[in-house]
């Protein structure tokens, strides 16, 4: 019964599908031991020839044996066509084995197609290539992937003693624990780690990422510098009435998105240590975030920024986002503009403080950090700008908001702590043109759909 099945199968393969049926191919296709496949092929050939002597079957055989050549006995293994089989056999001194290699309908000119058939079937069965073989090796046990990857990692790490690059690639693990480069970064804000600990705890639910986030935040903080003073004010500051609800929504979504943030963090952390953290942060923030969102991000570090990146589309805040986007791209650093969080500002409504709670908390810290690490590269500062835009009802709204701006002189940083009031005058000059640019953009954006990114030509349209 079962015997007939395989005969039929072979018949079908050879005659109907016109395939080249090698013993290996048959073994994998039918899932039988190779020797059994060879015997099946032989059986088929015999029967077919008995039934129908004019059958169109060409068979190749494998012959192996030894013969004396050049004074020593050489073992030969050869694939031969049926018509040459007897001749080859007669030449061999000792014939070790003969068996059917393949059956096909057409006469083969050379052994190339045989090899191709075998190669194809092998490729599709690479993982269990010795399953049907006659020899089983006890020592050949594939290692578990985790084990092999860890061993490969060890191999890499042992070779990459200069691991300043490692921080750039893989492994949050290496980032968090070790390479010297990342260490430098983390060392600076070492003292601040404690300060951020609470913030981190509040922010991150996940444990794993926490170390990364802390490292990030620390770096952010160091890079960012002083956001501290103004933070509390800041949050309240740019809460113009119109913007209030939006911001609230934003924050809510942010909360919800925290998880996402965590998820994104890995990717962020990858980029982060690469450059000066400010630069890294800047990148994430560049994705057109509203000032508020930006500021929030700054406080929470990359995470926030990242989440904003993800969520900004989904959420509102188009208007604010648009404003920030272009200038951000020009100015280097990102949201960490320790904006002189000018305390004054348009009446800060008691905004969604709960979500902002953690944020303001961090605000005080960054500035101190910043001063301590005053020599850092360009910091992003919060500068008060007034933005004009067209809101939903077609009314032109002007509001003063903080947006991050890069500032290279450290003097600014010192100033930040002292009086934020001084800052605006200094910065306003710079900001004015920017605001104007933003204004028209904002208008178009407001009119436009959500998530639409303003192009550089928006400036001209509006005017």
């Amino acid at each position: 019964m079962a015997d007939q099945l395989y005969l039929e199968n072979i018949d079908e393969f050879v005659t109907d599908q016109n395939k080249i049926v090698t013993y290996k191919w048959l073994s994998y296709t039918l899932g039988v031991h190779v020797n059994q496949a060879k015997q099946m092929l032989y059986d088929y050939v015999e029967r077919k020839r008995k039934e129908n002597s004019g059958a169109q079957l060409h068979v190749t055989y494998l012959v192996s044996g030894s013969l004396i050549q050049n004074g020593h006995s050489c073992h030969k293994v050869a694939v031969v066509r049926e018509d040459k089989l007897e001749a080859v056999k007669s030449k061999l001194a000792v014939t070790a084995s003969i068996h059917v290699y393949s059956i096909q309908k057409a006469m083969l000119k050379d052994s190339g197609p045989l090899f191709n058939t075998d190669y194809d079937i092998l490729k599709s069965n690479l993982q269990n290539c010795s399953k049907f073989s006659a020899i089983q090796c006890a020592a050949a046990v594939p290692r578990a992937p985790a084990e092999s990857s860890s061993s490969s990692k060890k191999f890499e790490q042992s070779h990459l003693h200069m691991s300043s690059e490692t921080q750039a690639n893989n492994e949050l693990t290496t980032n968090g624990h070790g390479p010297p480069a990342s260490k430098q970064v983390s060392q600076q804000p070492k003292g601040i780690m404690g300060m951020f600990a609470s913030k981190a705890a509040a922010k991150t639910q996940e444990t794993n990422k926490e170390t990364k986030t802390e490292a990030k935040e620390v770096t952010n903080a160091s890079a960012a510098g002083n956001k501290a003073p103004g933070k509390g004010n800041m949050m309240s500051n740019f809460f113009g009435k119109a913007a209030m609800n939006k911001f609230k929504v934003n924050l809510d979504s942010e909360q919800a998105v925290k998880e996402e943030k965590i998820v994104e963090q890995p990717t962020v952390s990858v980029t982060e240590p690469k450059l000066a953290t400010p630069a890294g942060l800047k990148k994430s923030s560049k994705k057109a975030e509203p000032v508020k969102v930006l500021q929030k991000e700054k406080k929470r570090g990359k995470r926030v920024a990242l989440s904003d990146d993800e969520t900004k589309e989904t959420e509102n805040m188009r208007k604010k986002r648009r404003r920030i986007k272009l200038p951000e791209s020009d100015s280097s650093e990102d949201e960490d503009s320790p904006g002189a969080y000018e305390a004054e500002s348009p009446s800060p409504p008691p905004p969604p403080s709960p979500p902002l709670e953690p944020v303001p908390k961090t605000e005080p810290e960054p500035p101190s950090v910043k001063s301590s690490s005053g020599e850092n590269k360009r910091k992003r500062k919060r500068v008060l700008k007034s933005k004009t835009y067209l809101d939903g009802e077609g009314c032109i709204v002007t509001e003063k908001v903080y947006e991050s701006e890069s500032c290279t002189d450290s003097e600014e940083e010192l100033n930040m702590k002292t009086s934020s009031v001084h800052r605006p005058p200094a910065m306003t000059v710079k900001k004015e043109p920017r605001e104007e640019r933003k204004g028209p953009k904002k208008g178009t954006a407001a009119l436009g759909k959500a998530n639409r990114q303003v192009s550089i030509t928006g400036f001209f349209q509006r005017k």
């Binding site: 190779v34 190749t60 013969l67 050549q69 030969k76 293994v77 020899i135 090796c137 020592a139 050949a140």
Partner: protein, 435 residues
């Protein structure tokens, strides 16, 4: 024997004195040769700085062969000679070559009964002779360090085999050799052959791939000379070849322990000793612990039998600078000189070892092989202290479709060759069975 002969006399001397007293003739000297010359203490080993003219002595030093045809980068870049770079030749020997012996302080030219064309730079030898007036040392005899001491191999009870293959030459575009490689893998993994053959194949305890896994053509550096826009999306030929190699290694290591040695055309460092290939190139095969990536030269003790071998760069370099033609002869000669590669670092790239030279044989192996030779050869040689070594030259598989099976119990080697069938050539010819 002596007592029996003496006891045959009839009368004894325990009797009154007799008149006759027999005298016996001493057996004459048939032959006598005094061959205890080596034990004469009259010959001293001297340093070159202590040589007195016309005094016979022994000097030990390192040879340097000054060859006018030897490619020299300095001569090539020198502008005053206006020389074009020399085309590569198969042999750089010339009748005008001269030998110079160097010790720690001085050097001296050699002449006399010493085969200049056979020796190469870097050989350490002792010469016996004397200094002549012209400042050259007239050599009367010389000798090498000869075979190192050898520990005997423990006897084995069953037949165990080690398969030596070299020169797989993947990526070379030769379809014929791919079929041969696949047949080889099938035999070793037990898919091919009758039950008897599969049983024998199961006794193969190890496979050693001795270098040149990739073909020479994968090393082509055309992309350096071409314009960037032409080579933008092209991939190095070695990438595809390494993928093929990974699949082959996967099949092999799923069934038998494999040692992979790098060779001249493989992606590892150029200088000897070559470091193992990096496991990241073989993601599929490194999952198996039976795969071992090893150095070139490689030595190991397999089932009590000491193996030592290289991928053939040392032997082919000596071939270029010596008149010796047979690779097996060169292999034996390196064993007798007790140094794997005397020409390194003069003409063969080598890491600049400072304190110790790892290429000196501290101990004599039982099987000494070298890969990528033009043809198969094997010989058993004996040393002065009863050492027995099996020398094997493993042929280039991509050209000859032949591998070597070493029987560890009897220290014999048998070549094993594979073939398919082609349209044009006579099958028998292809198999080497023709007349």
């Amino acid at each position: 024997m002596f007592s029996e002969q003496a006891a045959q006399r009839a009368h004894t001397l325990l009797s009154p004195p007799s008149a006759n007293n027999a005298t016996f003739a001493r057996v004459p000297v048939a032959t006598y040769t005094n061959s205890s010359q080596p034990f004469r203490l009259g010959v001293g080993v001297k340093k070159l700085c202590e040589l007195q003219p016309e005094e016979k002595c022994c000097v030990v030093g390192t040879l340097f062969k000054a060859m006018p045809l030897q490619p020299s980068i300095l001569r090539e870049v020198s502008e005053e000679h206006n020389l074009l770079p020399q085309p590569p030749r198969s042999k750089y020997i010339h009748p005008d070559d001269e030998l110079v012996l160097e010790d720690e302080l001085q050097r001296i030219k050699l002449k006399g009964t010493i085969d200049v064309s056979k020796l190469v730079t870097g050989t350490v030898l002792a010469v016996f002779g004397s200094v002549r007036d012209d400042g050259k040392f007239l050599v009367e005899d010389y000798c090498f360090a000869d075979l190192a001491p050898q520990k005997p191999a423990p006897p084995l009870d069953t037949d165990r085999f080690v398969l030596l293959v070299s020169g797989l030459g993947l990526g070379g575009g030769g379809g014929e050799s791919l079929l041969g490689t696949q047949l080889l893998v099938d035999v070793v993994t037990g898919q091919l052959g009758d039950e008897g053959e599969q049983c024998s194949a199961a006794h193969v305890s190890r496979v050693i791939l001795a270098g040149n896994l990739l073909s020479h053509s994968t090393q082509s550096r055309d992309s350096i000379n071409k314009a960037k826009y032409l080579t933008k999306k092209t991939q190095a030929a070695s990438v595809e070849a390494v993928k093929m190699l990974d699949e082959i290694l996967l099949q092999l290591s799923a069934s038998v322990p494999v040692d992979v040695m790098p060779g001249e055309f493989d992606p590892t460092n150029y200088t000897l000793p070559q470091q193992p290939l990096h496991p990241c190139m073989f993601p599929l095969a490194t999952a198996y612990s039976t795969l071992q990536l090893v150095t070139n030269p490689y030595q190991a003790t397999i089932d009590g039998v000491r193996f030592l071998g290289t991928s053939g760069q040392n032997v082919s370099d000596i071939f270029r600078y010596s008149s010796m033609e047979d690779h097996l002869e060169i292999l034996e000669w390196t064993l007798r000189v007790r140094h794997i590669s005397p020409t390194a670092p003069d003409t063969l790239g080598c890491y600049p070892f400072y304190k110790t030279d790892p290429f000196i044989f501290p101990e004599c192996p039982h099987v000494y092989f070298c890969g990528n030779t033009p043809s198969f050869g094997s010989k058993i040689i004996r040393g002065p202290e009863d050492q027995t070594v099996l020398l094997v030259t493993v042929p280039d598989f991509s050209a000859t479709q032949t591998a070597c099976l070493v029987n560890l119990r009897s220290l014999a080697c048998q070549p094993i060759s594979f073939s398919g069938f082609g349209a044009e050539d006579d099958d028998l010819g292809g198999l080497g069975l023709g007349p």
